[in-house]
Symmetry: C2
Subunit: 437 residues, 2 copies
């Protein structure tokens, strides 16, 4: 993509309304624009990151055996009356009356709707286990939306729902998600630590929050220092979902980690304790028959008896993650995208667009990068080098390939790694090779 044609409205000044760094940087980098309080439009650069994150979530859900579907945003109030949550949910639920005066709502979550689908078609233990997920916009009418996409009203969430015949099978489904979540966040360059959580309004017996560490995190967290060195991706990569996952889950739940409200200083030696700030990015629940009982979602057990199905639900804040990753990965100049979620891998910088030779060399590199299937944003604008460097640092692409007349005269271009700041002079061919590897 040529920057001259790209819809990337950068802001020079820090927007006054943004209180936290991710909100500031997303606005300045032209990733989002507020449409109404707590409701955002995703501009092309932000949208690309959102899609990258969504795709990693999808791939890890699929790998775990969950099946993707899609439930609508607008639901009928009836189902929520069946579960008893219609009145409980309070003002956070966006309530709507349609033209026929039917009570509808914008789904804040989907336990009721998925349970309704399930009960209408699944009748036997033979059709279990099932794990269904969707990635869909939700609405929670927060009284004070703020922090950009971190606490918006309309937000994108991956939520899934597991259905099992008994507690043992349900525990296995829960464990699968535990592993899938560790893998998902690790692939995004995040260290997400599972912490025992209260089950809250979803209800149930067993729950973990997944919390990433970020200096600017919303809450205090405490964990064993071994978490900081753990290579979760390597550990989780070798897990076979069909095996017993309990030993793996035990290993990673035994290692101390707790939110502020659950922290017990006596539970961990002081010399092993790390105190940090955290951001919740995922939450998993096992809640048994909390919905299947009132909604009569029953299946025939092997002995012929009809029993309510055992359920769990599992959420990842997809749009929230865009902000959370920035909170965890930025510096004073801007965003530092992990490669797996970067909107483009390479920023190609033409230092002198008015110089024909320089532009010809850049055009050729641009064509070659695209031919190699590398995602590249090409700054072909007629701007000062300073402005171009600032833009690249702000939007945080992993690699900057800098081309100027002086370097070219010596047959060289410069490759800068955004994260480490390391710069390297090399031939254009060597740069291409390095980027393609």
């Amino acid at each position: 993509m040529r920057l001259s044609a790209y819809f990337l409205p950068l802001l020079k000044e820090n927007p006054a309304e943004a209180q936290i760094v991710s909100h500031r940087l997303m606005l300045r980098a032209g990733m989002i624009r507020q449409a109404s309080a707590g409701i955002y439009s995703w501009l092309p650069l932000g949208f690309r990151v959102l899609k990258k994150i969504e795709q990693i979530v999808r791939e890890e859900q699929d790998a775990s055996g969950a099946q993707e579907m899609l439930m609508p945003t607008i639901q009928s109030a009836e189902l929520w009356r069946e579960s008893g949550r219609y009145d409980d949910y309070g003002k956070e639920m966006l309530r709507i009356r349609d033209r026929a005066d039917r009570e509808m709502l914008y789904g804040p979550t989907n336990e009721e709707l998925i349970t309704d689908i399930f009960r209408s078609v699944v009748k036997s233990y033979r059709d279990l286990p099932k794990n269904l997920y969707h990635i869909q916009w939700k609405f929670r009418d927060e009284v004070r939306p703020r922090f950009g996409v971190m606490r918006g009203r309309e937000f994108l969430m991956k939520d899934n729902y597991s259905f099992d015949i008994d507690q043992k099978a349900a525990r296995h489904s829960y464990n699968k998600m535990f592993v899938a979540y560790l893998r998902t966040f690790a692939r995004m360059g995040l260290k997400a630590i599972p912490m025992r959580a209260d089950t809250g309004p979803i209800g149930g017996d067993l729950s973990h929050e997944f919390i990433i560490l970020a200096d600017t995190g919303e809450s205090a967290v405490y964990c064993d220092k071994a978490w900081l060195e753990a290579d979760i991706l390597a550990e989780a990569a070798n897990v076979d979902y069909e095996n017993d996952l309990q030993p793996f889950v035990d290993k990673w739940t035994r290692l101390y980690a707790a939110t502020d409200e659950k922290h017990d200083p006596a539970a961990i030696p002081a010399d092993r304790l790390v105190t940090a700030r955290g951001i919740e990015v995922g939450h998993i629940f096992y809640f048994g028959t909390k919905y299947s009982k009132p909604m009569n979602a029953v299946v025939a057990a092997p002995d012929g008896q009809m029993v309510p199905v055992e359920m769990g639900s599992y959420g990842i804040g997809v749009s929230r993650l865009v902000g959370a990753i920035i909170e965890a990965s930025h510096d004073e100049n801007g965003i530092i995208w992990p490669e797996s979620v970067a909107p483009f891998k390479v920023g190609l910088v033409n230092l002198r667009a008015s110089d024909k030779k320089c532009t010809a060399a850049c055009d050729e590199l641009y064509a070659k990068l695209r031919a190699a299937q590398l995602e590249v944003l090409y700054d072909d604008r007629d701007e000062s080098p300073g402005a171009k460097f600032a833009t690249m640092d702000l939007i945080g692409l992993p690699w900057q390939l800098v081309v100027g007349p002086r370097g070219l005269a010596a047959g060289k271009v410069e490759l800068k790694h955004r994260k480490t700041g390391v710069r390297e002079e090399l031939t254009p061919e060597a740069a291409l090779q390095k980027l393609a590897s």
Copy 2:
């Protein structure tokens, strides 16, 4: 995917509420389930088709130079007051009050919101042209939702918006979409015929509907018989978007095609006339300054004057297309998916799941098909051959690979082409080769 594990709730009976064939088949094939009147959940099989269609739309938009973004579903009423459409829109607009009693709405379309984004950041002709699109759920509170996803209330639409400095440039943007739409529908195996349309509530000067032919179509259409033989994909494939597209557009608008309301029998010789039924799947509009004027979306022209930007909007009914493709491609046994949008390419049928040798051969074929990156649905259930054939014909995968003990004893499997019904006996290796080619 193994059918024994897949969430595919098939219906044996025709559902009484479904009046048209696509609705019937989508319900019977376990693709969708109604959540409320005119609001559907997309079950895994239906979701796969929806995603395939969405991806083709996306690729063709990208190829045309349009940039993807995403606007929210919930909008503020304020913007719609600026354009004057808030009161005009009537009861089809789902109006909402949030907890702070602000007037909001579920977007039925996005001219106002995109114009607001545009005017806030684009100030000069130098930043034009721009064409921004998104693929997002919309809501239109139809008084009588029916025909399944063909006329639902919550529906997925690709809509984009072009911004140009003058009419000539705007016409080029319009022409780009004209070409992109022909390519998009042709890639889905559809013959979509552009027909001059009234501009309706969107307003403006120039508009075409894209209508596909289907015996069960919603309205009468009339066209030159040359349309039936035209290979639009081949013609449109060679179009370069940077060239003047007017000759191409002229060619395909000169050839007679008209909706019922526009049909003029005098305009076409009777021996060239084809009378058929059609379904609208896309609509493009050039409406000039209809929104930019009242909303003050102005840019500096080369002479320094501030002028309202020239706009067009362009819509494709993504979820509607799932139904429309079925209307255009089915027989008495079920759906016949064009390969490009099929949920799986191959249905692998194990004729005797209780036979160890047969199952071993099927398992091996399944592994090989997956290794070759072919999307395969493996019917490993313990059901009668008749039930399995009926299922495969119903869900309409392009290829059925049928494996039974008798054929295997002779070293053969059967490959059936769903569309033509042609069956072929061949070795497993030859079948794999044919499917992979």
